[in-house]
């Protein structure tokens, strides 16, 4: 997929990153990324993947922005209250980079809908706020051997890992339980940091540079500004990836 002269100009500063080049930029243009959630994490992920020139973003959210979301969900503003978040995200992203194709999906992720929702995506980025939907996506990612970037946040802390079965443990190996969803504290910068890290992980994988966070969970404590990497292991009896 060739780049036109305006694209070469727009992405010139990242194309001079070692081993990125025109070939890496073409891989981005060809790629489709599925972003699960257009909230706190989904905002920086969609914004930075779009600015970098990913060809197609499939963005899924069934909720609507509320005033109490706007301290962190930078895809949306007050005038978007009442509009679906995926639709609102599409409008923001088209403004930021008209070259990107956005497919907004307003359905809820369930066992029955997951296949149609993820569609032909090359990689899944988890920007969700609940483990129920995460486990459905994880199972689908394992089945289709798709890479799955997991992240979660709480207050001023967060975590990220790059899952790609069978090379790495799956989400179920590391977090077997479904933690009940409730209202938790969060400041906008937390998803800003963790979401930007997720987008860096996605870009590296698509472009084919650097090393991804495989078999390790990055845990960040923003209060003390402490970053730790914890080794994570496959559960041989995992009901999701155990037979791979």
């Amino acid at each position: 997929m060739d780049l036109n002269s305006s694209e070469k100009e727009r992405y010139s500063r990242q194309m001079i990153i070692t081993d990125w080049g025109e070939a890496g930029q073409q891989r981005l243009k060809k790629s489709t990324v599925f972003i699960a959630g257009a909230g706190g994490l989904g905002s920086p992920v969609a914004v930075y993947l779009a600015a970098a020139g990913v060809g197609t973003l499939r963005i899924c959210d069934f909720g609507e922005p509320e005033l109490s979301n706007l301290n962190r969900q930078i895809l949306h503003t007050e005038s978007d209250i009442g509009i679906n978040k995926a639709i609102s995200a599409e409008a923001s992203i088209k403004l930021l980079n008209p070259n990107v194709r956005v497919v907004p999906i307003t359905d809820m992720i369930t066992q029955d809908t997951v296949e149609g929702i993820v569609g032909n995506a090359d990689i899944i980025v988890d920007c969700l706020d609940n483990f129920e939907a995460r486990h459905i996506l994880n199972e689908f990612a394992v089945k289709k051997l798709l890479p799955f970037i997991h992240a979660g946040i709480h207050g001023l802390s967060g975590q990220v890992t790059f899952i790609h079965s069978p090379e790495t443990p799956c989400l179920r190996c590391v977090f077997p339980a479904v933690v009940p969803k409730k209202v938790f504290p969060v400041v906008g910068v937390t998803p800003g940091i963790i979401g930007s890290i997720e987008s860096a992980e996605a870009l590296k994988w698509i472009v084919g540079i650097g090393e991804n966070l495989k078999n390790q969970l990055l845990i960040w404590d923003g209060d003390t500004m402490d970053f730790q990497k914890v080794l994570i292991k496959k559960d041989p009896d995992c009901p999701v990836c155990g037979n791979l």
Partner: protein, 249 residues
């Protein structure tokens, strides 16, 4: 202290329930005045995240105009902003994201002579610049006026960040004396997103009084390997800017 309105209490609810934050920290943000030097790659996430957190007075300075090759990372601007000044384009974006705040756009180039007038009387300076000549002008002013400054720099998929608060910490000159030549360097948006969001966090912690700041320590990030390191920094006793014989009274 300015009281919070009902709509502000709703907008900032999810951060106000963070341990130690509450209404008091939120009011401090409402009273705060911040200077952001640069409305580019770093200035974008920095200004966006402190704006949505409710920092009311933001002075943002940039003498340039957005170009097409900026748009892979400078998320304050889009194709329709090309031809506008970056500080003015930033003001439009920030006031749309949060109509409760006041943004002052400054379009001048920062020099040794005008630095005091441009920065003015603020609680905090955030360095989102791309060259050390200008960084050293704002460092000198920050040291002279005892205003804390959050420094950051980015290159490719790497970056660094620290909070400077003299005389408690080394100043920028102690950490990085002189100015390396400023060339066109590789950069991707996600790098500015990581480092700029970390700067915004340091700013919010300082202004709200919640959490601990990265004082006297340089955080270095290698995004290619996704590694974070912290390196202790030391004051240079003979520093011409913050040392004892610097001639500042």
């Amino acid at each position: 202290m300015k009281e919070l309105t009902a709509s502000e209490k709703e907008r900032y609810h999810r951060q106000m329930i963070f341990d130690g934050w509450g209404e008091q920290a939120q009011q401090k943000l409402k009273d705060a005045k911040v200077f952001i030097a640069g409305a580019g790659g770093l200035g974008s996430p920095v200004s966006i995240y402190i704006a949505v957190a409710g920092v009311r007075n933001i002075r943002i300075c940039d003498c340039g105009e957005p170009e097409l090759s900026n748009l892979n990372r400078q998320i304050l601007h889009d194709d329709t902003s090309i031809g506008l000044n970056k500080a003015i384009s930033a003001k439009h974006t920030l006031e749309r994201l949060n109509p409760d705040i006041q943004v002052t756009a400054i379009t001048d180039k920062i020099t040794e002579k005008n630095v005091g007038r441009i920065i003015g009387d603020v609680d905090l300076i955030i360095d989102c610049l791309d060259n050390f000549d200008t960084r050293h002008y704002i460092n000198l002013y920050a040291v002279k006026r005892s205003i804390p400054m959050i420094h950051a720099g980015v290159y490719g998929m790497r970056g660094q960040m620290t909070m400077i608060k003299t005389p408690e910490t080394p100043c920028l000159w102690c950490i990085n004396p002189g100015s390396p030549p400023s060339d066109v360097f590789p950069i991707v948006g996600a790098t500015a997103g990581v480092i700029g969001s970390l700067q915004a966090l340091e700013a919010l912690k300082y202004l709200s009084g919640v959490g601990t700041n990265l004082l006297g320590t340089l955080l270095v990030w290698d995004g290619g390997k996704m590694e974070f390191m912290t390196l202790p920094q030391h004051k240079d006793q003979g520093c011409p800017i913050c040392g004892q014989d610097n001639g500042i009274d």
